[in-house]
């Protein structure tokens, strides 16, 4: 059995993740930040530990500016709805996931100006094209760090510098890269970073968040939800400080216990080490796919400029058939179709039929890649 759907969610997880969650459920269990007894205090320490680990991973100085939520989608919605106002202008790329495109389309219906900068057929972005789209009213640039379809890395650091020069903010969607590629928010001039906890941070589903840099004016930030925070309980207004301003209600503390363990595992393993290993496997996969007659690979087709996510098609076979035959006949699990990113597929020329996507992870092996390549080759051979 081969799990090549890590771009959707990683599997397996390091054993420490499940162990941390079990420990939380069986030994800690109380509501963090709601009471002063020892179990509640211990729960608060666990949640804070998750903030600290995330801040360390992304080079963020203040763990209190790490805001947790259900997933990267919630973090992106929080940032876009929290910071953009009617009359503001926002810029994004044509390689974005619907977690970015859908909230932006909804906002652009409400008098927020939107420019979608076109990318190359390989999914690459020219920073000059983006810079040309900046207006005096541009409040925010939102960019994916890597495409969830082709893995193509976008030039976030260059765009970060441009954002600083033009005194606008950069929000990076790191759902596909957090933990798999090095990210230093300060060096790359990233003001806001949305991350997924359950992909390459190896935490459980239901975890993700937003890291807020110090150029972001917290006083301007409107929460998505308001409610109990365990702080300022005598007031009926939402507290104005982080993280409480943007985190209401009981958090997914058991999930965050797992996330903290996942991030600590990533830090101990080393992002550079994970990246190098996945790059080698990606190179092997790309080389093998390109050698199969009838297979078309999308993206830059260069392991140095993409993540371990690879999209391809087999001439003469629907992607849905490829997916079901890989699963049914050889237990190779992947994702096929449009991957929630119609704009990216239009850019790549694969709309509306989509692609077959292999998403490798930190636990993928060279043997698995070789086996999967043999299976794809056999499928393609069968058509010719």
């Amino acid at each position: 059995m081969i799990y090549f759907d890590n771009a959707a969610t990683s599997w397996p997880k390091p054993p420490c993740v499940g162990e941390a969650m079990t420990r939380f459920m069986t030994e800690i269990g109380a509501n963090p930040g709601r009471s002063g007894h020892r179990m509640a205090v211990e729960a608060a320490r666990v949640v804070y530990g998750a903030r600290e680990a995330v801040a360390e991973l992304f080079g963020a100085p203040d763990p209190l500016r790490v805001i947790f939520g259900a997933n990267a989608t919630e973090a992106i919605n929080l940032a876009l709805n929290g910071l953009l106002r009617p009359g503001d202008h926002v810029i994004t790329s044509s390689m974005e996931h619907n977690s970015v495109m859908r909230p932006l389309r909804a906002l652009s219906g409400g008098r927020v100006g939107l420019t979608v900068v076109g990318c190359s057929p390989e999914g690459g972005l020219d920073p000059k094209d983006l810079e040309a789209a900046i207006r005096p009213t541009t409040r925010l640039i939102i960019l994916t760090h890597a495409s969830n379809v082709t893995g193509t890395l976008l030039p976030v650091a260059e765009v970060g510098r441009i954002a600083r020069e033009h005194e606008t903010l950069l929000l990076v969607d790191a759902a596909q890269t957090a933990g798999a590629c090095p990210i230093d928010m300060q060096a790359a001039c990233v003001d806001l970073l949305a991350f997924s906890g359950h992909k390459s941070l190896y935490g459980p589903m239901g975890t993700g968040g937003l890291v807020i840099g110090d150029r972001v004016d917290v006083a301007r930030f409107r929460p998505l939800m308001r409610g109990g925070t365990g702080s300022h309980s005598e007031h009926e207004e939402q507290p104005g400080f982080l993280p409480d301003l943007l985190e209401s209600g009981t958090p997914n503390a058991v999930g965050l216990a797992g996330l903290a363990a996942g991030v600590r595992w990533v830090l101990a393993t080393g992002v550079d080490h994970i990246r190098a290993r996945e790059r080698d496997l990606t190179r092997r996969l790309l080389t093998g796919l390109e050698a199969i007659l009838g297979v078309t690979v999308y993206g830059t087709r260069d392991a140095r400029t993409q993540t371990a996510t690879v999209s391809f098609t087999i001439a003469g076979m629907e992607v849905s058939e490829v997916g079901s035959r890989l699963d049914d006949e050889q237990a190779v699990m992947c994702r096929v179709g449009l991957h929630c990113a119609p704009a990216a597929h239009r850019t790549l020329g694969t709309f509306p039929t989509g692609t077959v996507r292999f998403g490798l992870g930190a636990f993928s092996t060279a043997e698995e890649v070789t086996f999967a390549l043999d299976v794809v080759a056999a499928l393609s051979r069968g058509l010719r």
Partner: protein
């Protein structure tokens, strides 16, 4: 009088309390997160208890780190 006399750092949230507690512990200040004493506030939150003798040092560490607090009071 037996034992130590204490002060408490009143914090904005439990997250702030954990941050301050970790920071003070690293600097060798004996501290503990406790429920806010009833005579100070009816809030349901926690505070960080420190020895009164370390009050100035703790205050300085928190200020230098730029962590907002509600105040420090003797208890």
């Amino acid at each position: 009088m037996s034992g130590e006399e204490y002060a408490v750092i009143l914090v904005l949230s439990t997250s702030h309390a954990v941050r301050i507690e970790k920071m003070l512990a690293q600097q060798g200040i004996a501290c503990k997160m406790i429920p806010v004493p009833r005579q100070i506030s009816s809030d349901c939150g926690v505070c960080v208890r420190i020895p009164q003798s370390q009050r100035e040092a703790a205050s300085e560490i928190v200020r230098e780190a730029g962590i907002a607090i509600q105040g420090i009071v003797d208890v």
